[in-house]
Structures are given as structure tokens and as C-alpha cells.
């Protein structure tokens, strides 16, 4: 490959192009053109055409950024951009849209839309009629988060410890434990209603033959909560297990061999050898399970329909936004919820970082 001196470019110090210079890496010009063309397109053409024009403009800006990053060796930006672009179009943009909606009075079954500022937030948090239900659902959600996540972490961890060793038939037994996670929640949730059913269910059949009288699990709040937590923990403990197990098997064997020679106690062996290897993955499991636990709705819908004071915030949200069409009020509730999740996850990440620095 021969490069003539005239076109060759010094690899490091490359000046940015001037604003109006037409060149593939001039991202400033690309943004300018993109904004102008998109604005004209949206104003003049029907939505079905202008959507694609806006998309093409976004692609052009992105391409300019890519060329710019490549020529100036910003590999980080180059690698991250495609993923961020997809996330932006499909997730972040709709999220911002619904954030915007939360400041308006809007119902999806009506045409009118009116700016009301923080009214929706004040309403869902303090209104005499709406707020108590919201708070109650939030408190229930907090309870479910604590119960399900702690159960999953403990059960998942114990299961992972069982499978950490190499033993005969391990791979056949492991897949049995992983299966609950693969079930569709539609099917497993519906089948749990059967297991818990007072007349036909297995649980009641067993309980009735042990004790006198009719056993109905969903009769009390404690029973209903236990039923939901059990089903959720049963489905998702394997998730925690798999992450922990991936960490456990990555511990180099020679460390254990050394520990065995030094006669280190099992307790110390765990904390000083095993734990550092699984800390990151435990954190990840905790993070994702907490986030998912906040969104618990499907099992509640299937098992109790929110009865016996088991309404969670996500189910409440579905009712408000979908069944009652109160779109902007639902958006406000979900941003209150998002705020809580953000505080909690930041707390997790902060603690994890501090531990990392100590270690």
C-alpha cells in the first residue's frame, strides 16, 4: 500500500474543518444542515414522509461524527455510538416524550392537551383522592422489592454454591434449575393460580389433608404476598445463580490449592478468595433484580389482581395509564418511581465503589 505524500495526513494533530467547509468529518455543518432540512421537512410534508427525512438527517449527522471520530482516533466514541443511537431512538427519546407529557393535562382518549406545569406531580403525591392509593402502592412495591430481591439473592447464591464444584451429571442438573427462568410469565403465572387454587390446587390439597378445614392461601395479605414472592423468587433465583456461578468458576484453582496448603479456614477462604471474584457479578445481579422488582406487575395481575392489599406501583400505573387513559398522570407517577429507583441504584453503586477502593 503506497500513500503519496500529498494526500497523506499526519496521524495526530489534525485541525477541525471550518464551519462551512464541505468535508466528511465536518459534524458542525452536518448538524446545521440536518436541523434546517428536518425543520422544513416536518413543516411541509406529512408525518409519514418527514419521519424518514428526520431519520436520514440523523444518520447523516451520525456518519459525520463517525468519520470525525475515526480520523481523530476517538475509538471510545466510535465504539459506543451505534448502541447509543439505537437506545436513543427506541428508548431515550420516548422516555423524554413521556417526561414532557407529565407536564401536560392529556388523556389518550381525548384530543385536547394543555400545559399544567407540575400539577400532575402535586396531584399524584398530595391529592386527597388519588394520592393515598399511589402511596399505598409505593409502600407495597417497596415491600415486594425487599422480599423478592433478598429471597432471590439468598436462594440464587446457595444454588450457585451447590453447583460450584465439578461433579458427575452437573450439566443435566443445572439445566433443570435454570428452566423456571425460561418459562413465559403468562404460563407460569397462570399455573401458579392453579397451584394456589383453594378447590383444585395442589397446595390446598396437601394442606387440607394435613390440617382440618379449608386452606386458602390468598385469603390474607400475608398469604397473598407470600404466594407472589414465592412465585417470583422461584422464577428469578436462577438468574442470580447463573451470574454468581459465572463468577465462582472464574476463580483460579491455584488460589484454592495455595489456601489448602496454608490450612486457611473455609470462612476466610470465602471472604479473601471467592468473594472478590463474585463481587462485581453479585452487584450486577442485585442491580438488575432490584430494577425488575420495581416493575413487578404481571404476577400480581395474574395471582391477586391487586386484591388483599397487594397492589404494586407498576400495576397501578397500568390501570391509570391504560385502563383509565390518564396518560400524563401515569407518566408523573412513573417519574416519581424512576426518581426512587435512581436514588436506590446510585446508593448501590456508591457502596460498591467504596468497597472496591477499600479492597
Amino acid at each position: 500500500m503506497s500513500v503519496t505524500p500529498v494526500t497523506s495526513v499526519p496521524r495526530t494533530a489534525r485541525t477541525s474543518p471550518a464551519l462551512l467547509e464541505v468535508s466528511a468529518d465536518n459534524w458542525r455543518l452536518a448538524i446545521l444542515v440536518g436541523v434546517v432540512v428536518s425543520a422544513l421537512g416536518v413543516a411541509a410534508l406529512p408525518a409519514s414522509v418527514s419521519f424518514w427525512i428526520v431519520g436520514a438527517m440523523a444518520a447523516m449527522v451520525a456518519a459525520a461524527f463517525v468519520v470525525n471520530a475515526y480520523r481523530r482516533r476517538y475509538y471510545g466514541g466510535l465504539l459506543v455510538t451505534p448502541a447509543i443511537a439505537v437506545l436513543f431512538v427506541m428508548n431515550i427519546f420516548p422516555l423524554l416524550w413521556s417526561l414532557g407529557l407529565s407536564f401536560f393535562a392529556y388523556q389518550s382518549n381525548q384530543q385536547s392537551i394543555r400545559f399544567v406545569g407540575l400539577y400532575n406531580y402535586i396531584k399524584v403525591l398530595t391529592n386527597d383522592i388519588a394520592a393515598p392509593d399511589n402511596w399505598n402502592a409505593l409502600i407495597n412495591t417497596a415491600m415486594f422489592v425487599v422480599l423478592t430481591v433478598s429471597t432471590q439473592m439468598i436462594v440464587g447464591f446457595l444454588l450457585a454454591m451447590l453447583f460450584a464444584k465439578q461433579f458427575p451429571l452437573r450439566k443435566y442438573l443445572l439445566i433443570l434449575v435454570l428452566t423456571p427462568m425460561m418459562l413465559s410469565v403468562v404460563a407460569s403465572g397462570v399455573f401458579f393460580t392453579y397451584y394456589y387454587d383453594p378447590t383444585f390446587g395442589i397446595l390446598s390439597y396437601v394442606m387440607n389433608s394435613i390440617t382440618d378445614g379449608q386452606f386458602i392461601l390468598m385469603d390474607s395479605k400475608a398469604g397473598a404476598v407470600a404466594g407472589i414472592v414465592f412465585a417470583d423468587a422461584w422464577m428469578w433465583s436462577p438468574f442470580v445463580m447463573l451470574l454468581v456461578l459465572a463468577g465462582l468458576v472464574s476463580v483460579p484453582k491455584y488460589l484454592y490449592e495455595a489456601a489448602a496448603i496454608d490450612r486457611v479456614s473455609a470462612w476466610r477462604r470465602f471472604w479473601s478468595i471467592t468473594f472478590p471474584y463474585i463481587r462485581g457479578l453479585l452487584m450486577l445481579a442485585l442491580l438488575f433484580r432490584t430494577i425488575e422488582a420495581f416493575k413487578l406487575a404481571d404476577l400480581v395481575i395474574l395471582l391477586t389482581k391487586g386484591g388483599n392489599d397487594t397492589m404494586t406501583i407498576s400495576y397501578h400505573l397500568i390501570r391509570i395509564a391504560n385502563e383509565q387513559n390518564k396518560t400524563s398522570e401515569g407518566a408523573a407517577i412513573s417519574y416519581v418511581m424512576l426518581f426512587m429507583v435512581i436514588v436506590l441504584t446510585n446508593l448501590y453503586l456508591y457502596l460498591a465503589k467504596r468497597r472496591n477502593r477499600e479492597a
Binding site: L79, V80, A83, M90, K165
Partner: protein, 314 residues
């Protein structure tokens, strides 16, 4: 890989027991735990081969065989394969002819949509995770946190803007729309997971390769990627499981041609106002479980091999 393991050794008949190896005693304990854990699934599978009339019998029928007289007769049922047939074609109206239910199409949709979107997320997510791990940007943690935030809100909040967006673009009911949505849905987890695997790698090997004149692309493809195959497998399995069973987006954004199995399953078992059709639900779920079960089973080896296998120990 250990070379020359005999078939006996691979089946677990190992003479030498190393530090982290256990024998058949351990297998027995784990088998007991695993079996109990698996019971609710087993019941669903057995329901799929039950005659429809026995689905809600009291006492519940539990097993297709009496296991040589171990299980009392009242709990035993005669297995049938009828239910699997009625997944694909059954009598819809009283006294009518069996009609095709379109489930072959729904299974095809589920496979295409889930596998394409998970693979796409894996490619984009792994590149991004490598970028976040090796070439930290200004405000790296902030970007990562924003990515995580996309998973925090319940789907119902994003769904209304997404529906409007898809309608404007003519994407609702198309494969492209739902695949892109699921790709985004998987990206957050993929990026976080793969970043934690890349972070675990020792940079020494990479630096050595760079000094020897390897390009950045070569370092990524030849040195980093092979070390995180376990991570790729685990991420793929998780993504597949989550996407495979996703319900809400699929319910609202797929059309008759692109409908996935969870949505169709929900409609099939709750239509007609006759209550849940238990044997049909179990048969659909059992069939629906098979692909993802097999993928997990065959990727398991990678899943468990560990991140630092075969590389320089830290």
C-alpha cells in the same frame, strides 16, 4: 481443554479428585434439590400430556406412570399427545371442522424476532462495552447510568410514545419495528454485563500485543473477544430468555402477521369465555420452552467455563 479424557471420565467416573471436585454423593444432594426446584415445570409438562378432562381433577393427577406401583393409582393418568395437535389445529366452533390456528407462524415469528434482536444487541452492545471499558469517555459513568435508566421505567410509560412513533413511521406490525425495539430493550443489560467481563481481563496481554505491532482491531478480535466467550454466551442466553417471553410490547406492537407466541398463547387460552384451557396452555408452553431450553443447554459449557480460562492469571 484436557486432552484424552475417556468416556468414563467425561461421564463423571473420575478416579482422581482434585480440590474442587466432588463425587456421586454430592450429585445425589444436588439432584434432590434440582428435582424439587423443577417440580412446578414438570407439572406443566405433565399437564401437556394429560387428557383434557383430567386437568382439574381432585385429587390432582401427578404422573403418567405409577413408577412400578410407587405412586398410588388415583394420582396416575394415561398420557396422550392430543394436546400438541390441538395447538396447531383444533375445532373452534361447536360441531365444526378443525381449523389451523396459525401457531406455526407464531413460533416462526418468535424465533426470528428474538434471535435477530438478541444477536444485534450482542454485536452493538459488545462493541459499546469494549469502548466503555478500554477507551473511557469524558463522563463515562454518566453514560452508563443513563443506559441503565432506560431499563428502570415500566414498559407502559414508553409504550404510548413508541406507538405514536411507529404509527408515524409505518413500523407498527412490522418485523423491523419490533426487532429494533427489542434490540434497544436488550442493550442496557448487554452493555453492563459485557463491560463487567471486559473489566476483569488483564490488560497486560493487550499491551504486549500492541507493542508487537497489533492494530487495535486485531487486539479486540484476537485477544479480548476470545477471552469473554463465556460472557457472550451468558449474555446471549439471558437476552434470549427475556426477549423470548416478552409480553407487553409484543401485545401492543405486533400485527396479525408478526404476532409472537406469548401474545397468541394468552389469546388462545383465554378466548371463548370458558375459562383457562389448561391442557392447551401447558402444551403451548411446553413446545415454546423447547428452543430456548436447547440453546441454553448447548451454551452451558461456555457459560461455565469461566472468564479467565486459558489466559494469564492476574
Amino acid at each position: 481443554m484436557e486432552s484424552g479424557t475417556s468416556i468414563w471420565e467425561r461421564m463423571g467416573f473420575r478416579k482422581s479428585s482434585g480440590v474442587a471436585e466432588a463425587g456421586w454423593g454430592h450429585t445425589l444432594v444436588v439432584a434432590g434439590v434440582s428435582f424439587i426446584y423443577f417440580l412446578p415445570v414438570l407439572f406443566i409438562i405433565f399437564t401437556a400430556i394429560k387428557p383434557q378432562a383430567l386437568a382439574l381433577s381432585v385429587p390432582p393427577t401427578l404422573s403418567p406412570t405409577s413408577l412400578f406401583g410407587l405412586i398410588p393409582d388415583q394420582f396416575v393418568f394415561t398420557p396422550t399427545l392430543e394436546n400438541f395437535g390441538s395447538v396447531f389445529s383444533r375445532v373452534m366452533t361447536a360441531g365444526g371442522q378443525p381449523e389451523p390456528t396459525g401457531f406455526d407462524r407464531f413460533f416462526f415469528n418468535s424465533i426470528v424476532i428474538a434471535s435477530v434482536s438478541v444477536l444485534l444487541a450482542l454485536v452493538l452492545g459488545t462493541l459499546a462495552a469494549y469502548g466503555f471499558s478500554r477507551y473511557p469517555l469524558k463522563g463515562n459513568d454518566t453514560y452508563l447510568f443513563i443506559i441503565l435508566t432506560t431499563r428502570m421505567l415500566p414498559a407502559i410509560v414508553v409504550i404510548i410514545p413508541v406507538i405514536l412513533m411507529f404509527r408515524a413511521a409505518g413500523l407498527s406490525g412490522s418485523y423491523l419495528g419490533i426487532i429494533m425495539l427489542y434490540t434497544a430493550f436488550n442493550l442496557a443489560f448487554t452493555i453492563w454485563m459485557m463491560k463487567s467481563f471486559f473489566d476483569e481481563l488483564s490488560p497486560d496481554v493487550e499491551d504486549a500485543a500492541r507493542i508487537d505491532g497489533s492494530s487495535e482491531i486485531k487486539v479486540f478480535l484476537k485477544i479480548c473477544l476470545p477471552q469473554v466467550i463465556a460472557g457472550l454466551a451468558a449474555t446471549f442466553v439471558f437476552g434470549l430468555i427475556l426477549t423470548w417471553n416478552e409480553f407487553l410490547f409484543a401485545l401492543l406492537l405486533t400485527g396479525p402477521d408478526t404476532r409472537t407466541v406469548p401474545v397468541a398463547m394468552n389469546q388462545a387460552v383465554s378466548s371463548g369465555g370458558r375459562g383457562t384451557d389448561w391442557t392447551l396452555l401447558a402444551a403451548i408452553e411446553t413446545l415454546f420452552l423447547i428452543p430456548v431450553f436447547l440453546v441454553t443447554f448447548f451454551l452451558q459449557e461456555h457459560l461455565l467455563r469461566g472468564v479467565t480460562f486459558g489466559t494469564v492469571r492476574k
